[in-house]
């Protein structure tokens, strides 16, 4: 499957990509990055990366989705550099620990779906940002960009088996993080 603009020269596509998608990319970045200069840099990096990666792009996702995915990973790296969130990561470095130690508490799902919704997303987003890099990218591409397994394996150059392990680890760590930061004290 080739995308509709299956032009052989990605350079000539750049202008179209800017016209069609730059506003959406900008809004996406604006909601996640405060600094306008940083946003312009991120958009530049995104378009450059897209031009380079285009020969390998086989139209498995729409161009918009694909550009957003690249931008999302750039933003992820940006926050990473900004925060150097070393302590946060250490806390999360351990594999999911539920098997051996304590009984998991049940979650009170109602609480997260109603009034406190905004707060919940904030907590969830911060938990995702604390995932160790090795598993975060796979998880982000899978759950937030909705990429297929094959596409992620190609993008990150990992095996199917490895992807499954990374996703499992990411889900376990996020579960732990939500358990501590959101459901703690609310559960049964």
């Amino acid at each position: 499957m080739q995308p509709s603009e299956s032009n052989s020269d990605p350079r000539s596509l750049l202008s179209d990509w800017v016209d069609e998608h730059a506003d959406a990319l900008y809004r996406f970045a604006l909601a996640r990055v405060g600094d306008e200069h940083a946003i312009e840099d991120l958009l530049q990096d995104t378009y450059l990366a897209a031009v380079k990666a285009y020969p390998g792009f086989r139209g498995e996702a729409s161009v918009r989705t694909w550009l957003i995915a690249i931008l999302r990973l750039k933003i992820y790296d940006y926050h990473r550099q900004q925060a150097k969130s070393a302590q946060a990561e250490q806390r999360l470095e351990h594999p999911p620990s539920f098997q051996r130690t304590e009984r998991l508490q049940a979650w009170n799902y109602e609480a997260s779906q109603t009034v406190e919704r905004e707060e919940f997303w904030k907590v969830l987003r911060s938990c995702v940002s604390k995932l160790p890099e090795s598993v975060a990218k796979a998880f982000i591409l899978r759950e937030l960009d909705g990429f297929s397994g094959d596409l992620i394996c190609n993008t990150l150059n990992i095996s199917k088996r490895n992807l499954a392990v990374r996703l499992f680890r990411a889900r376990g760590l996020l579960r732990d993080c939500l358990d501590q930061n959101w459901f703690d004290g609310e559960g049964a």
Partner: protein, 93 residues
């Protein structure tokens, strides 16, 4: 033969680590019948694995919703400065 033995082991003696890994993989692929039977059977007797599965499903569904909201947020809002757009079009390595 060993294959059959492995299947039987998964059905009858699945470990927590395997049951939770399979709970995650069930979001990625269709599990084999003996994997499903083993996982469900294990969860029947294991409170924590039951919670784990429910909780990662909840996580998955929450993120699906977030993804949806995100798509809409891209359609309307501020626009990028034309000068920045021009600079983007002139990009060189």
């Amino acid at each position: 033969m060993t294959k059959l033995r492995e299947k039987l082991r998964l059905i009858l003696l699945m470990k927590c680590a395997e049951a939770s890994q399979l709970a995650s993989e069930s979001l990625e692929r269709r599990l084999a019948w003996y994997e499903t039977v083993g996982m469900k059977g294990h969860q029947l007797f294991c409170w924590s694995c039951r919670q784990f599965r429910r909780q990662i499903l909840f996580l998955h569904q929450s993120l699906q919703r977030a993804k949806h909201a995100e798509k809409e947020e891209l359609e309307h809002g501020p626009v990028l400065d034309v000068r920045v757009k021009e600079r983007l079009k002139q990009l060189e390595d």
